[in-house]
Amino acid sequence: MSSSVLDEQNFHHCCRLLLQQSEQLKDGWSWEAVQGSEEGYLRKTALRSVVTDSRPVWDHEGSSSESEPHTPCHTGLDQSGLVAPVDADSIEGDIDDEEDEGEDEGACTVSEGSSQVLQYEYHIVYSCSYCTPVLYFRASTLEGKSLSLEEVWSSVHPNFRLRLQNSPLNTITLQEHPLLGQPFFMLHPCRTEEFMRPVLQAAQDQHRPVNYVLSWLSVVGPVVGLDVPLKYSTQLHPTASLSSTKPD
C-alpha cells in the first residue's frame, strides 16, 4: 500500500531524477541550495507571451457581496466573478497542444487584451507540513514590474480557470516564500494528496515507477503556464527509475 504523501528524502530523490531528465531535454530546471545546506528547491524561468484580459477577473475579495473569503481548501473561488469572458485567442505561444482551442464554448464576448511578454520564475519547494511539493511562482514584465494577483489570474487560460472554479484543486494566493522571504504566488498544497492518491495507486497496481514530483508538476504546472513536455515520461533515463512512493 503506497502512501500518497512524500517525505523529504523522497522529494530530493524525485528532484534529482527530474533534474537529470531536464538536463537531457534542456528544459531549464536547476537546483538552488539554501546556504550550502541540503535543503533547497527546483527553479526554472521562462518567458511567456500572454494576452492579459484588461477587464478585472473577479469580484475582488472584500467587495460587499462576498460573505466568504477566498480561503484555500474551502469552496475555492467565488463563482460569480471568476470567469471573465476572454478572447479565445488569448493563448500563450509556447503551449503547442492548446493551439486548437479557438472554439471555446464558454467564451462569449471578445475582450480588449494587450499582448505582452512576461518573465515567469517557478520554484518547487517541499512542504514538511503537508508532505508534498508546492509550486511557487512570480511574474513580471520585461521591465521588471511585478504582476498583481489579478493580472496573474487573467493570464490563466480560461479552461483552467473554469476547472479551478469547480474543483477545490488549488487557489492562487500571494504568500511569503518560505526560503527566500519574498512575495510569491503559490498554488495551495492542501489538496495535493487527494489528486495524487489515484495516480500513485494506479502506478502501484500496474507495477510502474512514478516520479511523484514530475506527476504532480504535470497536473499543477500547466494551470500557471508551466509546460511539462511529454518527453519526460517517454524518454529512457540512464538510471533505473525507482518508484518514489513509500511502501508501508
Binding site: 475582488h60 477566498h70 514538511c128
Partner: protein
C-alpha cells in the same frame, strides 16, 4: 488546560504601545500629528490600524493615497506576521512606545504582500491554523470543524474576544493522552540574520525514548547557535532574552506553555 487560563489570558491580552508617524515625504495638506495606539500582540497590523489610516487621511488628498504600509527604521513590516513577533524581531531592545512610520506610496512589492482587504487577512490566518493542525492532528480536527466554527475563530481574533476564540481553539489544542501529544509541534523560529525568514521543520513532542521534549531540546536540534556552551535551559532563556534577532515563536494554537511571540519569556512590561 483550565489551570492555564491565566497564561492564556496574559498572552491574548498582551499589548504594545505604539506611535504611528506619517512618513515625511508623503504629501499633506497640513501637518500630520502622530497617532498612538495599543497594539494586540496576537493580531495583525492591517487588521487593527483602520483608525491610523483614518487619522492620516484627514490631512491628505485622496489622489496621494495608495495602499498603506508600515516601516520600522527602514525595514518594511510584514503585516502577515503577528504584531508581537514583529516587535520582538525588530524592536524588542528599544524604548517604548514602538515608533512605526506609515506610508501611502511606493508600496515595496518585492518585500511585502499586498493586503487589499480583511478577507485576505482572514484567509492567511485560517491558512496558518490549518497548517498547524496538519502538523498536530493530520488536519483531522480542523477539517471536522464546520465553516461557522472557523468563522468564530476568526471573528474572535478580529473582535478581540478571548472566550469566543478559545471556545473553538480548545478543540485544536486537545490531544488524546495515549498518543502522547500532538503528532508534531507547530513552531517557527523567526530570524533576521538571513534571507530565510524562519525555520520550520518536523519536531515530535516526545523523544523516541519517551521523554517529553523541552524548548531547549527544540533549539538544540533546530537552532543550535542559540545555545552555545551547552548551557542548561535556564541559562538559555537569559541568552534568548538578550539576543535581539532571534525569536522563537509558535502559532496561536500551540500549547499554552509557549507564548505566541517571545518563547517562554514574557514580553517586557511597558
Amino acid at each position: 488546560m483550565a489551570d492555564d487560563k491565566d497564561v492564556l489570558r496574559d498572552v491574548w491580552f498582551g499589548r504594545i504601545p505604539t506611535c504611528f508617524t506619517l512618513n515625511q515625504d508623503e504629501v499633506t495638506e497640513r501637518e500630520a500629528e502622530p497617532y498612538y495606539l495599543l497594539l494586540p500582540r496576537v493580531s495583525y497590523l492591517t487588521l487593527v490600524t483602520d483608525k491610523v489610516k483614518k487619522h492620516f487621511l484627514k490631512v491628505m488628498k485622496a489622489e496621494d493615497v495608495e495602499e498603506m504600509w508600515f516601516e520600522y527604521e527602514g525595514t518594511p513590516l510584514k503585516w502577515h506576521y503577528p504584531i508581537g513577533v514583529l516587535f520582538d524581531l525588530h524592536a524588542s531592545n528599544t524604548v517604548l512606545p514602538w515608533s512605526i512610520t506609515v506610508h501611502f506610496k511606493n508600496f515595496p512589492d518585492r518585500d511585502l504582500l499586498h493586503c487589499p482587504s480583511s478577507s485576505v487577512i482572514e484567509a492567511h490566518f485560517m491558512s496558518s491554523i490549518k497548517e498547524a493542525d496538519a502538523l498536530k492532528h493530520k488536519s483531522q480536527v480542523v477539517n471536522d470543524m464546520q465553516k461557522k466554527d472557523h468563522k468564530q475563530l476568526w471573528m474572535g481574533l478580529q473582535n478581540d474576544k478571548f472566550d469566543q476564540f478559545w471556545a473553538m481553539n480548545r478543540k485544536l489544542m486537545e490531544y488524546s493522552t495515549e498518543d502522547g501529544g500532538f503528532r508534531y509541534i507547530p513552531f517557527r523560529i523567526y530570524q533576521t540574520m538571513s534571507d530565510r525568514p524562519f525555520i520550520q521543520k518536523l519536531f515530535r513532542p516526545v523523544s523516541p525514548e519517551g521523554n517529553v521534549h523541552t524548548l531547549g531540546d527544540l533549539l538544540k536540534e533546530m537552532y543550535p547557535t542559540a545555545l552555545p556552551n551547552d548551557e542548561p535551559l535556564a541559562g538559555t532563556l537569559d541568552q534568548l532574552k538578550s539576543s535581539p534577532t532571534t525569536t522563537t515563536t509558535t502559532t496561536t494554537t500551540t500549547p499554552p506553555c509557549m507564548s505566541d511571540t517571545g518563547a517562554l519569556i514574557p514580553p517586557p512590561t511597558p
